[in-house]
Amino acid sequence: MSQSASVPATPATPATPATPATRPDSASAAAAAESTANSTVAWTADEMMSIAAARALRGGMSCFVGIGLPSTAANLARRTHAPDLVLIYESGCLGAKPDRLPLSIGDGVLAETADAVVSVPEVFNYWLQPGRIDVGFLGAAQLDRFGNINTTVIGSDYADPAVRLPGAGGAPEIATSCREVFVVVRQSRRTFVEQVDFVTSVGHGRGPGDRARLGLPGAGPVLVITDLGVFRPDPDTRELTLTELHPGVELDQVRAATGWELAVAADLARTPAPTDQELIALRALTKAGS
């Protein structure tokens, strides 16, 4: 099942399928599917995205995990370079160590393997809100140039939306309280928009100083990983700036999939291609979870 506006992705709660699929409709798929020096097998743009997202997580970090793409990335990191990554799910599972990819944020395997299972009020009040969690890992239906996230409605009229999306879930406070936020999202002009129709979760507001003015304690989105590349907020403008291109992706492809005039880092890098080890781990994970 591919993602579409009528089956939207959502943060911190399930909506996108847990299994990354090939994306034949994507301009990047053909490029990404080519094999590189790192890997001996072909891989898809979605696989590159999950692997790039996983690499951003470091051992010992605590990570508040949204389902779908974020969960795939976080579980992949725990299977590869970050075995002591602490996974936290909004269902109350602290330190979950699932042996297969969970299909929801409340799968039994999360509770069975967690260091502690606490109530939902407790996970938000005692664990998220005080800023104990290093990284909040979110998805998005729309993401704008300042990293604001929409998972509520498509269209300008809340009362009469073009598309009613699932809503906020845990995302607004994850985006507020985690020390940093990573976002993982499939990129297109539909998802990468100049300004979101509805601010469900605040990124960098309308620019520099907005998070401080709003009293948001965390640093906000410091990293956005898509199937085309990696974006980071410009230190001065806070605008999402392309800092890495995935292997085989051309800059024009990224521009074509971005709904605003794309800023590109002076030292634009190439994401290292997936290694065989990463691909094997990812495929084992998504196969077990499906």
Partner: protein, 294 residues
């Protein structure tokens, strides 16, 4: 002390037209059978409350039970959207659905306030989002010590809360374990409560991670085996992922949904849990090939 009764009797006693009704259960232990019993008893004008309205609320909304939904995330977990919910919001079918929309943190704290006998709760939430502009039940509040501005949300005190648990004893003490979500708060916040359970046992053995609701904090208990299907009951049965997939095409189409309702909810009025088949799907005639839904 909780009275142990049948599910139809419990719903008939506790759930009235126009009530504020919360069915809670966070992925795990969702009281689906009770929700379908509410459909079967044709309740109307309910204000439905739930952090994560999913299939059972899609069914209740599609059946016309609800005039309002108070929630924080509405979707078919792992699959996509709730089409009956969207049809109600976007096209007022079968009746208009008013929304009162929060974040999970806000909803959880509203139940906490309700359970605590307080009129409101305070959190560091919603800042900078568009939610306060559309939700009247989010207001600023100032710390009287530091002057910091935070957010207040009003208590949720449903007329009835319904949850599902693994066990009760014969005195009506309830025990649940695994992911227990916001169920304790939702029950304690409510004026009346119903707990459906997998089984009534002679004695509740202590278990790691178990939450116990004493009988004097519960109004009714009903034994409903597989009452959380297609969600799961830890140590009883697994989540029926095929059901969630198969729900998508049924719910996309008004006629298919109406047929499903007639065949799998209303037709079963005589038998106790007709819509809760042991098999993998919302009904025997339903294709469960998830691949066909994309």
């Amino acid at each position: 002390m909780a009275e142990i009764v049948s599910l139809p009797d419990a719903v008939a006693d506790l759930v009235h037209d126009g009530d504020v009704v919360a069915l809670e259960g966070f992925t795990h232990l969702i009281p689906v059978a009770a929700g379908q019993e509410i459909i079967r008893q044709r309740r109307r004008d309910l204000t439905l409350v739930r952090m994560t309205p999913d299939i059972v609320y899609d069914q209740m909304i599609g059946a016309g039970c609800a005039r309002k939904l108070i929630f924080s995330w509405g979707g078919n977990p792992g699959v996509g959207s709730l089409h009956r919910f969207r049809d109600a919001v976007q096209h007022a079918w079968p009746v208009p659905l008013e929304l009162e929309e929060h974040s999970h943190a806000g909803m959880a704290n509203r139940y906490v306030a309700g359970a605590s006998g307080l009129p409101f709760a305070v959190l560091r939430g919603y800042r900078g989002t568009d939610l306060p502009a559309h939700t009247a039940t989010i207001k600023p509040i100032t710390c009287p010590f530091t002057g910091e501005q935070l957010v207040a949300v009003p208590a949720l005190n449903p007329d009835v809360t319904i949850v599902h648990a693994q066990r009760a004893d014969r005195a009506g003490n309830v025990q649940m374990w695994g992911i227990t979500g916001v169920q304790k708060e939702a029950v304690l916040a409510a004026r009346r409560s119903l707990v459906t359970v997998e089984e009534v046992v002679a004695e509740l053995e202590p278990r790691p991670g178990a939450v116990v609701l004493p009988t004097w904090a519960v109004t009714r208990v009903a034994e409903v085996p597989r009452g959380a299907h297609p969600s799961y009951a830890q140590d009883y049965y697994e989540r029926d992922n095929d059901y969630y997939q198969a729900w998508d095409p049924i719910s996309r189409d008004r006629d298919a949904f109406t047929r499903w309702l007639d065949e799998h909810v209303f037709a079963g009025a005589a038998s106790p849990q007709p819509a809760v088949s042991a098999g993998g799907g919302p009904g025997a005639s339903t294709p469960t090939n998830a691949g066909s839904t994309s």
